[in-house]
Amino acid sequence: MSGGVDSSVAAGLLLEQGHEVVGATLKLWGGVSDSGCCSVADVDDARRVAQILGIDHHVFNYTEEFNRHVVEPFVQGHVQGTSPNPCIECNRHIKFDVLFDRARRLGFDAVATGHHAQVLERGAVHELVRGADDQKDQSYVLGYLREEQLASLLLPIGAMDKSEVRIHAERMGLRTWDKPDSQDVCFIEASKGREVFLRQRVPLTPAKIVDRATGEVIGETDAAELMTVGQRRGILPGRDGEKRYVASVDVIEGRVEVGRLEDVLIKRIDLVESSLSFTHGAVANGEEVLVQWSAHGRVSRARFSREGECALLMSEPARPVAPGQTVVMYRVDEPTIVVGAAIVARP
């Protein structure tokens, strides 16, 4: 429970359905933060919600695990010129791994969260399905969940849109906890940003910005680690007056290549084999899937390939995807159902 409206209503609904509910807030970040979901103020909000609902509330400290599985890889990923998604890693390693284990040990039957996604029970199997509210769908950040986790996961608000959630909140007397959804990376101070956070931990590398087509140096940056493949913001247009996009980032060489959109489009996304995760069985070689590589990003069609390196072969050229990002795969015939996820490798 974050003290926000989604997890609060989720807890309230379960209680109304007759479940025995205990609230838990995870203390994840030990450092300074002015955003996200783990400040003392948020814990206090969550505790107050639990009091209003009349349920017990506990705070679990996972700062060490969070640092090991989320913050450190985030920093190291940047050092290597990749862009890991910390929210996905947190879900994968903290909420749906160590917390699940703990819940089982403590005698709970299920873990519930306030994510906007749904678990669909079909006979003996469970499917992860997009949330009913398109604008709020969070199936992307849950893409690594597998059958064994889905079987004991409850997502009570996934079938609602946000306005319905707010109506429930009001009905339950929780409307004062209608705080804004957290959008930022919870361990980075919004007022200082990613650059300050990284600079406090690792040296950042100055780099030349090179036009891929001509080899011409068209600018420079004092931190290659902050450039993300696919990014356009902060890049000057070329001499032709056209927009330029980041095509590749080489931190070691201090070189960022940019190009016109049509020059940087990609036809395949290489995947890190060891990161592949499927809800049930593996997707077959050559099978078509829908892919999405950011939280509310567009969906593209691709063919899953296991010939040589694991990859997704795009049916139409796509904007480049940053290594380290997660790609979530959905079914083609039932486009709201997640089939698996993987991390994007360097091309």
Partner: protein, 388 residues
């Protein structure tokens, strides 16, 4: 609802009826401001001064040395900050010497001074594997720049007692002209005879809610007159050491609590010492359980243990389900258990420190409670270890 077994006296002791009764008179209707001159004020002042007499006697100090504060943290803060500020006014450099196992009330006050003043430095005394200060290490921290030496009487997490006489003798022997000494006796107060334990120290901090009194009530007691700047000067109350209207009920409550504690001290030690032995022995048979500082001198009320491979969060959750109120002894403001700096200073591995549990007892604890606790905790540990 399961019956409640309260084993968290060291966090906050149950409020004694006698305390609540004594305070009652000062929590209704007209309560004069003790600084005033009319009859209601005089009556309030009299209650405060009578309380001061009792609190002074509890620590073996003259009544004039008692500064009433808003609790243990404030008392420690006043001692550290007040003595260091006073030292700064006559010296180029001021050093705060303290142990690595102090309560945050002391550590954070010292750090606060170092953060805000370039001429203030904090030096730490190392501790041994039991968490007892190393007197050799103390010697190395001392020179003519030392403003204050602060060492607790007993540790709030482990209950381990410190050799205060040794500390003061080395401190005063090594610094020309002697040095100001302070002892945080908050965790010691329910158990130790403070007039003798703190006899060689200049200042002693205590608080009411660890001995059955109200929260937000404590005292910094000056056993010797030492230079001390005011941290909150406004109004000049408490002989200029702590401004603000004196809370009569809080002072009376503290006095009632020290009166009871003093009266019961011998019996309580006698009784709870048996419980401590029984509990320690029983827990040491649980798989992976290690009693912290088993051979060190400890206050009788605390049994601190660590469980290999278990997490405090989970132990506390299941204990709570079983009706037991206990604590991991170190938690942050969110309520989450955090790795203890005390255990780290003792060289306990972070993995073991994660499975910390402090069970603390007091006047209300019965032998039956201890037996029930052993039963509940045993079943919790077996369950977390994959048993039934």
């Amino acid at each position: 609802m399961t019956e409640q077994l309260y084993f968290d006296h060291a966090a906050s002791a149950p409020r004694r009826d006698e305390v609540a009764d004594a305070m009652e008179r000062w929590q209704h209707g007209v309560v004069g401001n003790p600084s005033g001159s009319h009859r209601a004020a005089r009556e309030a002042r009299r209650a405060v001064e009578e309380a001061r007499d009792e609190v002074g006697a509890f620590v073996g100090a003259k009544p004039g040395g008692v500064i009433f504060t808003g609790g243990g943290t404030e008392s420690c803060h006043l001692a550290i900050v007040g003595a260091t500020l006073a030292h700064r006014s006559t010296h180029d450099k001021s050093v705060i010497v303290t142990s690595r196992v102090e309560h945050d009330a002391v550590l954070d006050a010292a750090q606060f001074m170092a953060d805000h003043f370039e001429d203030v430095e904090v030096r730490f005394i190392d501790v041994d594997a039991d968490g007892v200060v190393d007197l050799e290490s103390l010697r190395h921290t001392l020179d003519r720049d030392v403003a204050i030496v602060s060492v607790m009487a007993a540790n709030n997490e482990t209950g381990v007692c410190q050799p205060l006489d040794g500390v003061s003798s080395i401190a005063n022997g090594s610094v020309p002209g002697g040095v100001v000494t302070h002892s945080d006796a908050v965790a010691a107060a329910p158990w130790l005879y403070l007039p003798s334990v703190t006899a060689t120290f200049d200042m002693v901090s205590i608080c009411a809610h660890k001995i059955g009194g109200p929260v937000n009530s404590g005292a910094l007691i000056m056993r010797n007159e030492v230079p001390l700047a005011a941290v909150v000067p406004g109004g000049g109350q408490e002989r200029g050491h702590r401004g603000g209207t004196v809370d009569v009920a809080a002072c009376v409550g503290l006095a009632a609590a020290v009166r009871l504690t003093q009266k019961e001290l011998v019996d309580l030690n006698d009784r709870v010492l048996d419980f401590q032995h029984k509990l320690s022995a029983a827990l040491s048979f649980l798989p992976g359980c290690q009693v912290t500082a088993p051979s060190a001198r400890k206050v009788p009320g605390t049994v601190h243990v660590t469980f290999e491979g278990l997490a405090s969060d989970e132990l506390l959750f299941l204990l709570d389900q079983g009706g037991v109120c206990a604590s991991a002894a170190s938690s942050c403001s969110s309520g989450a258990a955090v790795t203890s700096h005390v255990l780290a200073a003792m060289g306990v591995s972070p993995e073991r420190a994660r499975g910390s549990l402090r069970l603390s007892m007091g006047p209300e604890t019965s032998e039956q409670d201890v037996d029930q606790l052993i039963a509940v905790l045993s079943s919790v540990v077996y369950r977390l270890r994959g048993g039934a």
